[in-house]
């Protein structure tokens, strides 16, 4: 009898032992050996694991993941499931929300990396942010990014270009600028000309692009081939900070500030001439990278939670909800007192499954962060892969990390197994 049972169990047993039990035991053994596997090193790999910076970041990030991602997915899934029950076309909406599950994690990672690119020309999120910003009047400067020529007596005070020394009426203040492309100078611009001597109560000068196309010319001097920069606003700022006069440059870059009193002024080109505009948020930088990856994870897995919860929802006894409504409970009460408690077994299964899934997260963290923020985005599974196969070739340390991961996953697995057993018994 025992032999017959064994005979039937044998195929499954062989598979389980060969593909599950043996690898786990071997990993435990391997984690006590050195990188090459030759020397027994005791607990060294485990000590390294908890003392080295990159593993520490990985563990910290895993904690953040476990705290944020499963809850967000479950709550969103519950929300979708309950709300979609009440509308027509709910299957179509469910399909759309579930669709990200059909995309491989790797592809989703590539998509999100593109979406969150820093350059507004590449990343759609920053493109939107910049578009909204410029709709409210940002970033329409004529000469973005222009800087003063070095050693020309000019200073760049957080975007405002000004003469180093103050001037009085009758003086000249020139502005040789660089960093503007020849082809972004307006069509009407002409060869730069000296402004000529200033009259009484006047300050004059020229603002020009101090670069000759093809090279040549003397820096800081108006030479042939250097164009004036028209349309630049020029302010005369009095000692007390008030603007005494303002004007714009003409086609040859000349300006005349008139009506000045006999005192000293700073001549300044306000930052609005050169403002490069709002450039968006650096989403993929070290500070935000984990948030961005978790967001993309939620995008994928909220659909899974929704489908699971929706199936649980369809199985619950509707008469209880009806009874509560008859007794005068409002919708919120029905949801919080009747629906949610009835759903709790499903919710716990979804939640625990997501915790296990999140602990093992690899693909998204491997694909999304650019090089500079890789260390900041690190999680245990990625760290494990990197040290054992991704170039580190230290499979001892890698095995130790794998064991850590296993130990972290075990409690959730035990909860899940218990849950299933209880359900079967009841």
């Amino acid at each position: 009898m025992f032999l017959i049972a064994l005979g039937f169990l044998a195929p499954a047993l062989v598979l389980l032992v060969g593909l599950v039990l043996y690898p786990i035991l071997y990993t435990v053994v391997r984690s006590f050996f050195s990188a090459e596997g030759g020397d027994f090193v005791g607990w060294d790999n485990y000590v390294t694991m908890f003392t080295n910076d990159s593993t520490f970041t990985a563990i910290r990030n895993n904690v953040i993941w476990v705290l944020v991602a499963p809850v967000s997915c479950t709550v969103l899934g519950l929300l979708f499931a309950v709300l979609l029950e009440k509308i027509k076309w709910s299957t179509a909406f469910k399909l759309i929300i579930f669709m990200p599950m059909a995309i491989s994690m790797l592809a989703a990672g590539v998509i999100f990396r593109g979406i969150f690119q820093e350059s507004p020309n590449l990343g759609v999120v920053n493109a939107a942010v910049v578009a909204v910003n410029s709709a409210f009047g940002g970033g329409d400067a004529a000469y973005p990014g222009a800087t003063p020529r070095g050693d020309a007596g000019l200073i760049d005070d957080s975007g405002v270009l000004a003469g180093e020394t103050a001037v009085t009426a009758g003086d000249e203040q020139n502005f040789p600028l660089v960093g503007v492309r020849a082809d972004s100078v307006p069509d009407g611009a002409e060869q730069a000309e000296p402004a000529g001597s200033a009259g009484a109560g006047q300050v004059t000068g020229t603002v020009w692009l101090d670069v000759v196309t093809g090279g040549g010319g003397t820096p800081g001097q108006i030479d042939d081939g250097k164009t004036g920069l028209p349309g630049i606003r020029v302010d005369a700022v009095a000692a007390d900070g008030t603007i005494a006069a303002t004007t714009e440059t003409d086609a040859a870059g000349r300006y005349i500030l008139a009506g000045l009193a006999e005192e000293t002024y700073r001549i300044a080109l306000p930052a609005s001439n050169f403002d490069e505009g709002y450039q968006g948020v650096s989403w993929l930088s070290s500070g935000l990278i984990t948030a961005v990856i978790i967001l993309s994870y939620i995008w994928i897995w909220a659909g899974f939670a929704m489908v699971m919860i929706a199936s649980g929802l369809s199985a619950i006894d509707r008469s209880l909800q009806e009874a509560a409504r008859m007794d005068g409970a409002n919708e919120w009460k029905v949801f919080s007192r009747i629906t949610a408690p009835l759903l709790s077994p499903v919710l716990i299964v979804v939640f625990v499954t997501l915790i296990i899934n999140v602990l093992k997260i690899f693909d998204l963290v491997y694909v999304i962060p650019p090089g500079a923020s890789k260390p900041a985005a690190n999680v245990i599974a990625v760290e494990m892969w990197t040290v054992s196969f991704g170039g580190g070739s230290n499979q001892g340390l890698g095995s130790a990390l794998a064991i850590l991961l296993l130990i972290l996953v075990l409690p959730s697995m035990i909860i899940n197994v218990r849950k299933f057993r209880q359900e079967r018994q009841s």
């Binding site: 960093g179 020849a182 670069v211 093809g214 090279g215 090089g371 990197t386 991704g390 170039g391 580190g392």
Partner: protein, 438 residues
């Protein structure tokens, strides 16, 4: 088994012979027929040769082998092992049937196979052929523990800075004479409204190549070798000199295009040579020509040219690069004849006109290169006073080859903040200590 027994006996003898040769200078050695290849007396013999090349490279290399077949009468079969040189050869050696000759891209693999006793040292005639055709750097690179095993057949030049001539002309910038002049020229470009240089630092390897070039220029070949083997620490003052030099460029926001940390390497090529260029210069090896051609908006040799990595602090021409070395696994006359043939300029000259091969062989006629750019790359390579292999390929991969860690990541951090040279050195030393110990 037969092979194993055979090579156990011959290897010590061959090493002794080669060592004796090295001591006695250039003696006549054994009675190796000098002009074996020309005799055509290997008819009926079959040689196996493997390399990583496939596609066009395979076709061109098979043409080289055909030339040998014609001379010698032997039949040569080529097999590609793709990217798995170590695994494939390891399996074949264990099974007792390695190819007669293999092309290896990693000197470390050659050294390892030599230490295992799997490789045959070069015959006297082959040693003489190498001495006649190659500079000392290549002889040293083909040796392990003082014995010559390898003939370098293909080389790459990683000391090339590529620039967009349209933007340089517009800015009036010219090819820089040295590092300081490079900064001046890049400033001219920046004045004209374009970024001086674009760096793609999404992964660290282009940055390690930057460092290796500057270090080879400032510290010289001997210190480079010592640092590669971690015989001197990364906290050595010579490293600080190189990092300081790098910081003069990397730390200058006016010259370096912003957003380097999120730019991939191919994107940095597009920034310089794409349809809407934003920067005028980029640094990487000769393979950039391929990226430019692939991008399709600029033409190598017309508006996409390169100059040699500029000399830092008045250093002599030095080139960092890589290559493929031919090594022999069997000790017979036909294999020896093939090795001699590969060391001869005639072998390389079959492939050179087809493009895609830069030969480290000094006696290859550079007029045969298909265009000026590839000729210039080859001349810089053979004309360099110092040639060194890419350092990050020679260090343990935990240090020099792991994304997100070690050399790669620390250079990314240094690009982002070039102010802390001492801290960067310490971080490099810590990473190296961990990797070399493991």
């Amino acid at each position: 088994m037969r092979f194993l027994r055979h090579h156990r006996i011959t290897v010590p003898i061959a090493i002794a012979a080669a060592a004796g040769l090295a001591l006695a200078g250039c003696s006549s050695g054994e009675s190796t027929p000098d002009d074996t290849a020309a005799n055509g007396d290997f008819a009926g013999e079959t040689l196996e040769i493997s390399a990583a090349w496939s596609g066009a490279e395979q076709t061109n290399f098979e043409a080289v082998l055909a030339a040998f077949e014609e001379q010698s009468g032997a039949t040569v079969n080529y097999t590609s092992f793709g990217d798995n040189a170590a695994t494939t050869l390891g399996t074949q050696i264990e099974g007792g049937s390695p190819p007669n000759v293999a092309m290896l891209a990693q000197p470390a693999l050659m050294a390892q196979l030599a230490a295992d006793g799997s490789l045959q040292p070069l015959s006297d005639a082959a040693v003489a052929a190498v001495a006649e055709n190659y500079s000392q750097s290549w002889v040293d690179l083909g040796s392990a523990d003082g014995t010559q095993y390898g003939v370098w057949f293909k080389a790459s030049n990683k000391s090339t800075m590529w620039y967009n001539t349209d933007l340089y002309d517009q800015a009036g910038a010219s090819v820089p004479e040295d590092w300081d002049d490079l900064l001046v020229q890049l400033q001219l470009v920046a004045d004209s409204g374009y970024a001086g240089i674009s760096i793609g630092a999404d992964v660290g390897w282009p940055l390690t190549d930057w460092f290796e070039n500057v270090y080879l220029q400032t510290a010289g070949g001997d210190l480079y070798d010592q640092l590669t083997n971690h015989e001197i620490p990364w906290t050595d003052p010579s490293v600080a000199v190189a990092l300081d030099a790098l910081a003069t460029l990397w730390g200058n926001d006016a010259l370096v295009q912003s957003g380097a940390a999120q730019r991939t390497f191919p994107e940095s090529v597009t920034e310089v040579f794409g349809a809407d260029p934003q920067a005028a210069t980029m640094y990487e090896g000769d393979f950039v020509a391929g990226n430019i051609t692939e991008d399709g908006n600029s033409v190598v040799g017309e508006n996409a040219l390169f100059f040699d990595f500029p000399a830092v602090n008045g250093s002599a021409p030095a080139v960092v690069g890589g290559g493929d070395v031919a090594v022999a696994f069997t000790d017979d006359a036909a294999t020896d004849a093939l090795m001699q043939f590969l060391a001869s300029p005639e072998a390389a000259e079959v492939w050179v006109p087809e493009g895609g091969l830069t030969s480290p062989n000094n006696n290859v006629d550079t007029a045969l290169y298909p265009d000026d750019t590839s000729r210039q790359i080859a001349e810089a390579l053979t004309g360099a006073e110092t040639f060194r292999f890419d350092m990050s390929d020679l260090t343990p991969s935990a240090f020099g080859g792991t994304p997100g860690q070690g050399f790669w990541q620390i250079m990314i951090s240094f690009l982002q903040d070039s102010s802390d040279v001492a801290g960067t050195q310490q971080a490099l030393e810590d990473a190296a200590l961990a990797a070399y110990a493991g």
